[in-house]
Each structure stands twice: as structure tokens, then as C-alpha cells.
Assembly symmetry: D2
Homo-oligomer: 331 residues x 4
């Protein structure tokens, strides 16, 4: 243990919570090795907050995180935990941490994870630092969240494949991607894969507009058309849109694909591994620097500290201009 701003932290609990995201293992590795480098111990907590309540604790050492940088998923597992949503549950978790001499916490996850972390930190005046890990990229205060870039590449790879067959048969595909409240994957997947339109929760597209985009492509005798639909889009998802279009364009050969859970897995992209490595190291530095109740983020290439409340409640937002880019480039 080195003498730094905070001399009291000796043992750090580490967990992953919520939907898993490729790159979480890279963050686990970076937290563990940075802590070890600075003389701090790390205790891995399995299955998210459930593990805090169940005392699923196990010391993590440097060699325990060898060869996980390239693996999707999370070696610490993830799970939902209703009990941690109660004051009693969090108290029990706190008692367990104290008993195990854990004096700080690093949590890797999304907004649900940080909401719980914020409450826990406040109730027990416990140092907690968060690392943004979610494929949805829907946290404020960081340019990207861990997993987003990998999921985007998976989507683009899948749409490329579907385009091959769509073009061979001159078909129109509605492809549904993840994103319950955020359209980042659909929007940027659509730009990257060259889709005709994207349908996202933040800025609804009218059916009239969609029809005009499609008619435009069709008129120019495009070989195929792709529409990306975010899971959280308000009009009922890929199947509903497909049905409406089929009715109005009987000469279109319309198909639907729901990409599903393949978006959550796979070896993390270079960018996600770098992000995870930097954020993990940043979390340990923040704790050593007496920071608490903050998310570590990267903005403009630099590590930033964002209060949990700000990270969760604010919106990155999608600009109309970005939706316009899809239209311009598919024109």
C-alpha cells in the first residue's frame, strides 16, 4: 500500500452488474493490476450486488486476470438483485463488506448499477467509484461506454452479411438492434453499414418519411434496402414496421431479423480494450485520490470524474443532424 491522498484504503471490492458488455473483463484486469501495482488488494465479488449480500468474495491477484483481456462476458458474472433495492439489503451488504475489511468499492455497469451504487454510498458513507460498462452507450459524461464499440462492430458485421443476401434477392430488411432507451447502436450502426433509414426512440420517424426514403431508394433501383430499428423504438419494433411496409409496397420482398444477444458477446474490440484499461486504472487512481460517488469517464481523450447523479440523469442526446446524415448518404 502506498501513501497517497487516502491512506485508509487497503482492500477494494470489485463487481460487475447489469447487462454484461464486452470489455468488462479488461476493466476487471486493469482494476486488479493497477491496485496491486499501488499496493492495494482486490476482492472480486460474484454476481453483482447479490454477491455482496451472499458474501461471494474471493481475492483477485494479478495472475487471476491473465488472458481475460480478450474474452467477452465477465469472469465475475452478473445478475439482478432485488434485495439490494431495499435499505435492509444494502445494510446487509455493508455489514458484509466491513466484516471482510473491504474499504472501497469499484462497480462496473450501467445506469441501474450506478443508481444502486449511489444509494449505497450515501447511506453508508462508503467510497464507491463506477466504471461505465454497457453496450447502449447511454451514460452522460463519457464519450463511450465499455462494450459499445464491440457491439457496433458486431452489428455492422451482421448487416454486411445480410446485405449480401438482400442484394442477391433484392430484398428490404428491417433489422432490430439493442437499445431500450437509446438509439446510438441503431443510428451509428446505420451510418456505418449504409442503411436507408434508422428508427430510434429519441427522434421518431414518421411512416410517411420512411415511405419516402424507401421509395427514393427503390426509384433509383437500389439492389437492396436496410432499415435499422432500435429495440426501444416507439412504434412497435421491426415486425410492425415490416407489416405496414409490406401492405403498401406489395412488390417489395420484406424480411425481418432480430439480432438479439449476439450483440452482447465476442472478443472486445481494440477500442473497448483500451477504454476498459484506462478506466480501470483511472478508478484506482480516483480512489487513491479520495474520490467517491463518481463514474470514471473519458471525454476528449482525457479521464474525467462525473458524479453518479449527473451520469445517470443527463442525456447525451441524438441530434437531428445525425439522422439527416443517414438520409444524405443513402441518397
Amino acid at each position: 500500500m502506498v501513501e497517497l491522498g487516502n491512506t485508509t484504503i487497503k482492500r477494494i471490492g470489485l463487481l460487475t452488474s447489469g447487462g454484461d458488455a464486452p470489455g468488462m473483463n479488461g476493466a476487471i484486469r486493469a482494476v486488479t493490476r493497477s491496485a496491486n501495482y499501488h499496493g492495494l488488494e482486490v476482492v472480486g465479488i460474484s454476481h453483482g450486488y447479490r454477491g455482496m449480500i451472499n458474501k461471494a468474495f474471493k481475492t483477485l491477484e494479478s495472475k487471476d486476470v491473465s488472458n481475460i483481456l480478450q474474452q467477452g462476458g465477465t469472469i465475475l458474472k452478473s445478475a439482478r438483485c432485488m434485495e439490494f433495492k431495499t435499505i435492509e439489503g444494502r445494510k446487509k451488504a455493508y455489514d458484509n463488506l466491513i466484516e471482510a475489511k473491504i474499504d472501497a468499492l469499484v462497480v462496473i455497469g450501467g445506469d441501474g448499477t450506478f443508481t444502486g451504487a449511489g444509494l449505497f454510498a450515501k447511506e453508508h458513507n462508503f467510497p464507491v467509484v463506477g466504471i461505465p460498462g454497457t453496450i447502449d452507450n447511454d451514460l452522460y459524461g463519457t464519450d463511450f461506454t465499455i462494450g459499445y464499440d464491440t457491439a457496433l462492430n458486431t452489428i455492422v458485421d451482421c448487416v454486411d452479411k445480410i446485405k449480401d443476401t438482400a442484394t442477391a434477392h433484392e430484398r428490404l430488411f428491417f433489422i432490430e438492434v439493442m437499445g431500450r432507451d437509446a438509439g446510438f447502436l441503431a443510428l451509428n450502426g446505420g451510418i456505418a453499414a449504409g442503411s436507408e433509414a434508422v428508427l430510434i426512440p429519441e427522434i421518431p420517424t414518421s411512416y410517411a418519411d420512411l415511405k419516402s426514403y424507401l421509395a427514393n431508394g427503390y426509384r433509383k433501383s437500389k439492389n437492396s434496402s436496410i432499415v435499422l430499428v432500435a429495440e426501444g423504438e416507439k412504434e412497435g419494433g421491426a415486425f410492425n414496421w415490416a407489416k405496414r411496409v409490406e401492405k403498401d409496397f406489395p412488390d417489395y420482398d420484406v424480411r425481418v431479423t432480430i439480432l438479439g444477444h449476439i450483440q452482447r458477446g465476442g472478443t472486445p474490440s481494440a477500442s473497448d480494450r483500451i477504454l476498459a484499461s484506462r478506466l480501470g486504472a483511472g478508478a484506482i487512481e480516483a480512489l487513491m485520490d479520495d474520490q467517491k460517488s463518481i463514474m470514471i469517464g473519458i471525454e476528449n481523450g482525457e479521464i474525467v470524474h462525473v458524479p453518479f447523479t449527473k451520469a445517470i440523469k443527463n442525456q447525451k442526446g441524438v441530434k437531428q443532424q445525425q439522422l439527416d446524415l443517414v438520409k444524405i448518404l443513402s441518397n
Copy 2:
């Protein structure tokens, strides 16, 4: 044009028909360049048999097939054609070929394609040679069909990704893959990806057996379970099985993914490119050798000629032993 067995063939029509498969472009390239090498002309026919009826003919030269070996889909497009299923339609197609001085035909596709080809060849005494192109691998007389290996790799890549997230959350996934009448993709995908069970049309698995496999895995505290389901499986597909299991194992977290059309696209695997190259060259050699109404296949590493009727009607079959292997290896 070289003097060979058949001195009458000078111009060969070439088409792709039925569901597209990765590697079809490699076969198009090989047919074109082999024909050119031997002094024969190739006329590309767009949209399968429809193009024969619509005179969608265009000469293909060596440079037209540059840089297509690595592309999924088919540059000649594919389509269904009801008219070719009638005697009149096939007569019209024949007249068009004669008018365009096309004196032989190479068709790339699956059993539907070869059924049409067989009728056409018989009615008009026209030399037709078939190249097996279908991801389902359901043609008799060839070890593999073009596209099967690529689709298998796509499936394995997707299941690997799903396993990452399945393991992180300890879930059971039912994953539906293509194969209306044939379980090759599900069976071998299951072996390659390490699934707990596969459900295929050829050899039904009883619900009791499935339950015992799953219980077995669960008992051994496996981290996740994967069941691959062929599209044509008789009990109602992935969603139905998932519902039954959810009811009987309330503690399982069950999910379903339908892989869909991503299985049809993507850059062809090395093996599919080699197969397509050899079969395409083999088709031209067969025509120069006066062969007709046959499919070119590869068995035991050697080019073989299989009568259309035999290729379509016979069954490769799946052996119980192969299903047993899934069980043994997941044990």
C-alpha cells in the same frame, strides 16, 4: 474454342437460382475463367430462371469476375420463377437460349434448381450441368455444398458470442439455425460450438431426453447451456421448446435467438472458395466431355458426376452416432 469430346459447345449460359449461398461468386468466377481458358464463351443470366425467360443475358469475361471470389451473395442475383415451373415457361426459355446461341447451361443452386434443370434438359435435350450451392448441405453425391462451411462458421461465431453473455448470466439459450429439411447446420454447429443438445428434423429428440440433458448439465453446475434447433425441427421451433422448458425449470433463465439471414452472407470461407473453384472448373470439363443432366460434386477429394435425379432424391442422412457425440462431449 478447343477441340474436345464435344465440339459443338461454344457458348455457355450461367445462372444462380434458389437461396443464395456464400461461394456462389467463386463458382461464377471459376466457370467463366475455365470456359475462357478453354476458348468457350460465357453468358451470365440474371435472376435465375426468370432471366432465361426475360432474356436477361450479358456476356461475362475474365475481368467481370475479378474480385468477386471474396464476396458473399451472387453477382448474377437469384429469384424465384413460377413461370419456369410450367412447360410453356421452359419452352420460352429454351427459345431464348437458342436465339442467343447459347448451347449449354451451368446452373448453381440446390434441389429446387436441379429439379427445374432436370425437366428443362429432358424436354429440350439440352446439356445442363449443375453445381451444388446451398448452405443446407442437403444434396446427395457431394461431401459438401457451396456455402455450407461458411454458414457453419457464422453459426459457430454467433454461438461463441452468445455463450459469453450466457455464461456471464448463467442462462440457457435456444438458438434456431437454418435447415428446413436437413439438420446438418444444427448438428455440426452444435458439435463445433459445444452445445448441450441439438434438435433436428431427421432424428427427433424427445422432451424427456432434452430435460435429462439439461438437468445433467445443471447438476454439474455448468455456467450456461446452449441448445441448437434446426428451423425444420418438427416440434415447433426454438420458441416452443423454450416455453416448455421455462415451465418445468422455473429456476432457469431461458432465452431464444433466431439467427436468420446472417447465415446466408459473409465472405466465403477458404474451404467454400476452394470447393467453388474446383466445382466450377469441373463443370466446364464435364460439358467439354459431353456430360449432361448431372451435378458436379466432390467425394473423397475427387470430382464426381451425379445424375440430377440421384442428387435430389437421395438422402445423405444423419446418424444417431453423431447425435450421441453431442451428448458425450457436453457430458
Copy 3:
């Protein structure tokens, strides 16, 4: 043509120059379609500046850039051109542009490309806008250059593969990656792939330090060690370092791999496609807005305009802190 700030631009010349980078095709597509959308014509110029001198001009329309977004390389080709380095060469190029009624230029490339562009623009008072396309990421004023993310992913994919065999045989690999003056690929590739050390031109590593890193890993009985070496590293490249280490650590099994040109190709990553799409659209907007002699960049997620001189001469720089991260994470 729309009435905007600059009413005189009607026809835009477009070229790629210098080393090619994955994503250049995405920029070509975005420039073409954005220009068309705004009523401007685009003339593709082949083989970089040589094409300006040789009048290798060809109008690009929307359909000419279909299905290139996913392709590596550049459909406009690239080449070196000594003649353009002379005043006379640039005068000839200018005369050709005027003759072809081309009244603005978009150039995609790196620092060499922008140096030529700057001179040309100044000498002939000609509107030129640059798009940063180079895998080296060594231009100032943009967070990333087109191709860098794809090259980084290729490197990481290769190092992952080499790690498999390195671990099986407990070997030490020196892997040389591209980057004549810039160590970004080596540094971030090293972080992303979990290497023991990186050797880059900007911040030399002493042999003594390297030895201590390796001895450290060896002492902890690591299964394998990877050192990434930038092409432009000052001590003589991967082979030289390997020789020195072999001498001092006779028990190490040392190997060398030069990744070479595979780093320049491949389908562009999602991130590179998005970057290329935004920069291409941004270049057209800048021209319509009377901008000239600038590079379009993206900083903090927003489009920025950077004078050529500033983009070329300044240095992004590598921080010691980033090199330290490699050491901390491999500890």
C-alpha cells in the same frame, strides 16, 4: 447546385493519395453523395496527384459508390507523384482542373498529401479541403484519422493469435507494427493486446528497462511475453531487439513477426466507417461554406476545421503516462 456561402463551386475533384487506409472508400462515398445531395458534381481523379497531371478524370455518381463502404483500399487508387512536387507539375495539374471545369478539390490522405495540397492551394488560389486518411493517426487536430481504428483492430487480432501459440510454447515475441514517425499503433495495440512492453519512436525505452520488464514477467512465470515495436523505433527494429535479448536470456525462446501490409487492408471497422462518413459530409459542407486549405477533423465528437499547416507540423504526442499504463497492466 444550391445557393450557399460560396455560389461558385459546381464541380469538385476528389482524390486519394499516399498510403491507402481502410475507410477511404467510405469517405469517397460520403463526399460523392453529400455533394450530389447539395446539387454539386463530383469528378473522381485516379492515382492521386498523378491523375491531376494525367487528366485521369471520371464523373462519380451516387450509384458508382454503392457497396464500397465495406471495402478496404480505395476505388480511386493511390500513387506517388514526383512531378507534383514541382511548381511546373502543379501548374499543369491546375490547368487540367480548369479545363475540366473543376472548381474545388477534396484530397484524402496524410501529411504528405496535405503538404502538396497546401502548396497547390496557395500557388493557384484554389479551394482545397483535406480529409485525414492514414493508419498512423499522426495528424494534429483530429482525434482519429481514417484507417487507424481498423489497423489497430487488425494488430490486436494478430497479437491475440500469436499469443495462443506463444503461450503454448512459452515464448517471447517481438512484433513489429507500422508507424514510421508515430507510435500510436504500437502503444495502443500494446495496451489493447496486453503486451509486456512497447517500443516507440517518441519515447525511447532503454534496454535496461526492457530487460527489467521481461525479467519481471518471467519471474512471475508468465506463460508468454509480447513486445510491440513500432516500425520507426530508433534502435533498429524488432530483429535487433530480439538478438540482444536472446543473448542475455538464453533460456527465452525468442521469435519475431513483422506484421506488414495486412495492417493496411480489410473491411473498415464501424468506427472508421462512421468517421469517414462524417468527415466526407463535413468536407462538402466546408467547401459550401467558403472554407479552404483546411483539414476536416473530429475533436470531442464535433467537426472541426484545422489549417493544413497546423495539421501537419504539430504533434499529437504520446504521454509517458500512457507508456506507464502498459507496464502497470502487464505487472
Copy 4:
């Protein structure tokens, strides 16, 4: 333990030896789980034959081989062992096996591995079964060896990437691939990637022929040319050929890439995983069936038993016809 042909085998030693190959882990998994399924124990031996001499023994159970099917390399490690090449070394190894109550051996490797296995089996009348694992595909009696298909796909992926940049700059690349005595990777890689020529040990290509192929491609104004060179080619490798060509074709822009060890790693292809699974299960069945001193292979889709001597000494051979195919298809 089940009562079968051989009632004496209870505990099986398992090792990997020689150059590692992707898919070896799949074979380790299949051997372990098949053995367990049939009531036999498996003892993993680390670092090949060295582990037999050093008593590096560790029982392998079902869960020890979870999640290794998708990993390159070998969890049992591999190494060279000079001592095992002596009678004394093999005697020591034998004594150690007896002491550890290991009564049969499964070895995964190539011809060097089987040579040692054959001697050991003969000297000590010990049941040994081999599984062919080598990327070179140079064993007789099996259509494919484990790792070959994955290496072939890696090569094709790399050549595709290089083609992107080769085409952008209109260059000629000599690409050297693995294969000391066998040209399978170069030959089939060349067919699959669409190269202009392949240079292999089995059938030398004269410099005059190579020049004519290149001149032919160049005359037709191909955009790029690729020549694949097997490591074991007799004329001195990729660099030598490149030098000669550069001298004779000063207008060619010639480059060389040595693919190196990336060919040994990576997640195994679907086909290699299936092969490894079937061979691993087949090895256990063979031992239970009293077989010894044989390699398990697959010919025509069926498991076969091939005496070690036959597998090593015979040659699969490359046919002139296959080399011709490269020429025909690049024409």
C-alpha cells in the same frame, strides 16, 4: 470403467507435442469427456514428452476442459524434448507412466510426435493412439489434420487484406506461408485467395513460368498480383523470388510479407472443431477396442485407423492438376 474389448485400460495419459495447432484444445476436450463418459480417467501431461520424463501429470476432469473448444493453442502446452529421442529417456518416461498407473497414451501432434510415439510403443509394448494435429496437413491417411482449416482461413483473410492495399497501389506481393515440406497451405491458400501463382516444395515452378504468369496478368492490366510461397519452397523463399522479379520487371512495385506465427493461432474454425471432436472421441473408442500404434484419421467422412509408420512415411502428394487450377483461375 465399462467392460469392453480391452478391460485393462483404466487411466489414459494425454499430451500435445510439436508445433501447436488451433483445434488441439478441442481434441483434449473430446478425449477427456469421451473417456469420462466411458468410465476411464484422463491424466493431462504438460509440455509434450518432456512432461512424461518430468512427471508433469495432472488429472483432467470434465470441467477442466470447459470453454477451451473455442481457444487456440493447447492448455497442455507443447515443447521439444531431446531426451525422449534417446532410449534412456523413453525408458524413464515409461517408468513414470507405470508409477502413475497410466496404462495407455493419446498423443496429439504431427509426424515428429508420431515417430517418437511409435518407438515408445514398440519398446515398451505400450498402447499409444495418435491424433493428427498440425497446420501443415502433411500426414497420410486422413483427409485433414487438426489446425489446417483454421490456418488456411487465416491465410486467406490476410491475403484478402493485402489485396486491398495491393490493388490500391497496383503492386505485386510475394506472401510466404508456413509449410516446410508440404505446399498444401500455399496451394489451397492460393486457390482460395485468387493468387496468380503458388510456389511449393513438391512441384517446383520455373522462373520462366512464373514470369509468364505475371506478364500475363500484367498484360491484362490486372490491378494487383499475389504469389503465395511455401516456407519450404526450394528456391530460397519469398525475398529471393521478389529480388529476381524486381530486376526483370522494373515497372512492378514488388513487396514481400512473411505471415509467420499468426498462422498458428486463433479460434479454431468450425471444421477444425468438428474434426478435433470426432478424432478425440475416436481415439478413446480405438483404445477401448484394443487398438495401438495407430493414428486416428477421417477419410471420406468416416473414422479410420492408420498405422503410425504408414501415416508418417507416405505422402499425400500434390497433383499437377491442382497447380494448373491456380493458373486457369487467375487467367
